[in-house]
Symmetry: C2
C-alpha cells in the first residue's frame, strides 16, 4: 500500500500480514484525509473556496488523532484483521467529525487559539481581509464563515465515512453514528446552559462531560470500530465499560489543563475555560468548600470576558486552596484504573487490549 | 388512457387510482415530521433539551413545503407509483435540511424574523431568559444555541432520510445528497464573500443564486425523488433542465420580495436584504445604470445595520428608477417559461408534469 508521508511524499508501506501495528494509525489516517480533502477542494466551485480548505488543513495539522486510534483499536477489539483500509477511512472521518465540533465550539466560545494557531473563524477573517474584504466586516465575516466551515466539515465527515464500508456495513453502524452526533449536540447545549453559571453540583458537571466529550471522544469511536467487524454484545458492553470512565478522565484532564496547563503545549490560552465561563467539575469542587468571599470571586470571574491576568491568578489560588486540583487528579486516576480493570476481563484480542491500555495512558496523563 | 395536454399533444395517462394526488403532500409530510421529532424529543437526555425541539416545531409550522413537493413530484416524474410512504419520509427530511439552512442563515445574518416569528436564535435566547438565564448573556446564548440547533437539525435530517428507503436505495441517492449539501455551503460562502460589497455583475450574482438556492431548493429535491425510483439519465437531465431556470426564478422572486414584499405575507422585515447587505441580481441591475450619486447611496445603504426607514425608502426609489424591478420580473418570466417548455418535452408521466407545472407557478408568482 502507498501512503503520503508527513512531508507529502509517497512511500510504500508493507501490507499487513496477521495483526498490523495498532499504534501506527496517524500517518495512514492523515494520508486519507489529505487525499480526500484535495479531491473535494478540486471539485469545489472556484478559487473563492480555498480559504475553507486551507483553514481546515491548518486545523488538521495538529491534534492527537485519539478518536481515530480508538476506532481502529475498536476494530481490533472486535476481532478485525487483514486489510484495514476501510476502518482507516472510518477513523479518518471521525477526525473530521471532531474538527467540525472544534470549529463550531470555537465560534460559540469566541476562542482565539486552537492547537497553537488562530481558530478557524479567526483564520477565515484574516483570509477575507487579505483578499480585499473590508476590515470592519472581518469579525462578523469570520464568525459566519466559521459556522459554514463547520457545516461543510460535518457533511465531509459523513461523505468520507461512506467511501469506506459498503452499504450493508454502513447500515450496521448507523445507529451508533446517530447517537454520537446527537449526544455531542446535547452535551454542547447542556454546556451552554451552564456557561457563566458555575455551581457546586459535581454530578451535573459530570453529566455534561459524559454527553459533551466522553461519548464522542471514546465510546462511539471504539464501538463504531467494533461494529464494523460485526462484534457481538459482549464486545460492545466491554467497550462501553472501558470507554465511559476513560472519556470522563479525558475531559477531567482537559479541565485541569484548561486552568493549569502550559499554553505552549495545550496550544490555547490558559485562562480560556475561566473566561468562557465553563461550569467544570474542577469549578464545582472548588466552589464546595469555598468561603463566601471566594465563592463571590469565582462567580464573578467565571465567564468574565474582561478577566485580567491578576483576576485569573486569584481564581487559580482559590482552586488550589480548595483542594479541587488534587481531587480532580484523584478522580482521573480512579477512572483510568476502572478503565484498565475492564481491559483485564474484556473479550478483546491481546494486542487490542494492549493498544487500549496505551491509549488510556496517553489520554489521561497528557500535557496537551 | 390518452388525453390531450395543454399544448394539444397526446399523452398517456395512468389510471387515477394508480397515481395518487401529488398535490396533497403537506399533511402527510407534516405528520411524519411531528411523529419523528416527538420520538427524538422523548429520547433526548432531559427537559433541558425542550427549547431545541419547541423552537424547531415553531419554525416548521410555517413554510411552503416546496422541497417536499418537488421531491414527491420527482418520484412521480421518474415513474413512481403505489405506496409512497418512503418517498414522503425522504421529502420530510428535505424539509428538515431546509430548516437547518434557515436556522444557520438567520444566525449568520443576525435576522430577527422568519416565517412571521422570532428567528430560532431569538426564540432560544427568550427561552433561556424565561428559564432563569441571566439577561446579559441572552444574545450570546441565543447565537450559540441557534448554531447548535442548526447542527442538530442537519443530523436529524440525515437520520430521518434513513428511516425511509433501505440501504440499497440510500446508496443510490447518496451522491445527490452529497452534492446538495456541499453546494448549499459553497453558495452560502459565496453569498457571504459578497455581503456588503454589491457590484453590478449580474452573472456573479446569478452564480450565487445557483449554488445558494436553486440547487437545494429545486434541482436536488426533484432528482432525489427521481433517483429513488431508479429513473434513467433522460429523466434526470429533464429534471435538471426544468429545475435550474425554476430555481433561479424562485430566488429572483425572493430578491424582489426582499425589497418590495409585504412583511405581513413574507413573515420578515422588508428591509432585511438591504440591511444584511445581500449582493442580489436586483442590486446588480440597479447599480448598472445608476448615477454616481445613486451608486454612492446604494453602496452606503447595502449592509448598513443602522439603516433607517428613510434610507430604505431612498434605496427603493433608486431601484425603481433604474428599471431593475421590471428587469427582474422579465427574468423570472423568461425562466418560468423555459422551465415550462422543458415539461412539454420531458419524459414524465402526464400527472407528474402537471404537478410540476403547478409548482412552477406557485414558486415564481408567490407573495411569501
Amino acid at each position: 500500500m502507498t501512503v503520503l508521508d508527513q512531508t507529502g511524499k509517497r512511500r510504500l508501506v508493507p501490507s499487513a500480514t496477521a495483526l498490523p501495528d495498532p499504534f501506527a494509525v496517524r500517518d495512514e489516517v492523515d494520508a486519507i484525509l489529505a487525499d480526500f480533502l484535495a479531491k473535494r477542494a478540486r471539485a469545489a466551485p472556484g478559487p473563492e473556496m480555498t480559504p475553507l480548505f486551507t483553514t481546515l488543513s491548518g486545523l488538521l495539522d495538529g491534534g492527537k488523532r485519539l478518536r481515530a486510534h480508538l476506532c481502529v483499536a475498536g476494530w481490533y477489539a472486535g476481532g478485525g484483521c487483514g486489510d484495514r483500509d476501510l476502518i482507516l477511512r472510518v477513523a479518518a472521518s471521525l477526525e473530521l467529525f471532531h474538527a467540525f465540533a472544534l470549529i463550531h465550539d470555537d465560534v460559540m466560545d469566541g476562542s482565539d487559539l486552537r492547537r497553537g494557531r488562530p481558530t478557524a473563524h479567526h483564520a477565515l477573517a484574516a483570509a477575507y481581509v487579505a483578499d480585499g474584504g473590508p476590515p470592519h466586516r472581518a469579525t462578523a465575516h469570520g464568525q459566519a464563515a466559521g459556522l459554514l466551515l463547520g457545516d461543510l466539515v460535518l457533511t465531509l465527515s459523513d461523505d468520507l465515512i461512506h467511501t469506506g464500508p459498503g452499504a450493508e456495513a454502513m447500515w450496521r453502524i448507523r445507529p451508533l453514528l446517530e447517537t454520537m452526533r446527537s449526544q455531542l449536540v446535547y452535551g454542547q447545549y447542556l454546556d451552554l446552559l451552564s456557561t457563566g453559571r458555575p455551581c457546586d453540583d459535581v454530578e451535573a458537571a459530570l453529566r455534561i462531560v459524559r454527553y459533551k466529550t466522553a461519548s464522542y471522544t471514546v465510546e462511539w469511536p471504539l464501538r463504531i470500530g467494533a461494529a464494523l467487524v460485526g462484534a457481538g454484545p459482549g464486545v460492545h458492553s466491554a467497550c462501553s465499560e472501558f470507554a465511559i470512565p476513560l472519556g470522563e478522565a479525558f475531559q477531567l484532564r482537559d479541565d485541569l489543563l484548561g486552568v493549569f496547563g502550559d499554553p505552549a503545549k495545550t496550544g490555547k490560552p490558559v485562562d480560556d475555560d475561566i473566561r468562557e465561563g465553563k461550569a467544570t467539575v474542577l469549578m464545582a469542587l472548588a466552589l464546595q468548600p469555598a468561603s463566601a468571599t471566594d465563592r463571590q470571586l469565582l462567580r464573578e470571574a467565571v465567564g468574565n470576558p474582561d478577566l485580567t491576568g491578576e483576576d485569573f491568578g486569584r481564581v487559580r489560588d482559590v482552586i488550589e486552596r480548595s483542594g479541587a486540583h488534587r481531587q480532580v487528579e484523584t478522580m482521573i486516576t480512579a477512572r483510568r484504573h476502572a478503565a484498565l480493570t475492564v481491559l483485564d476481563q474484556a473479550p478483546f484480542p491481546f494486542l487490542a487490549a494492549e493498544a487500549l491500555r496505551e491509549i488510556a495512558g496517553t489520554a489521561t496523563v497528557r500535557q496537551s
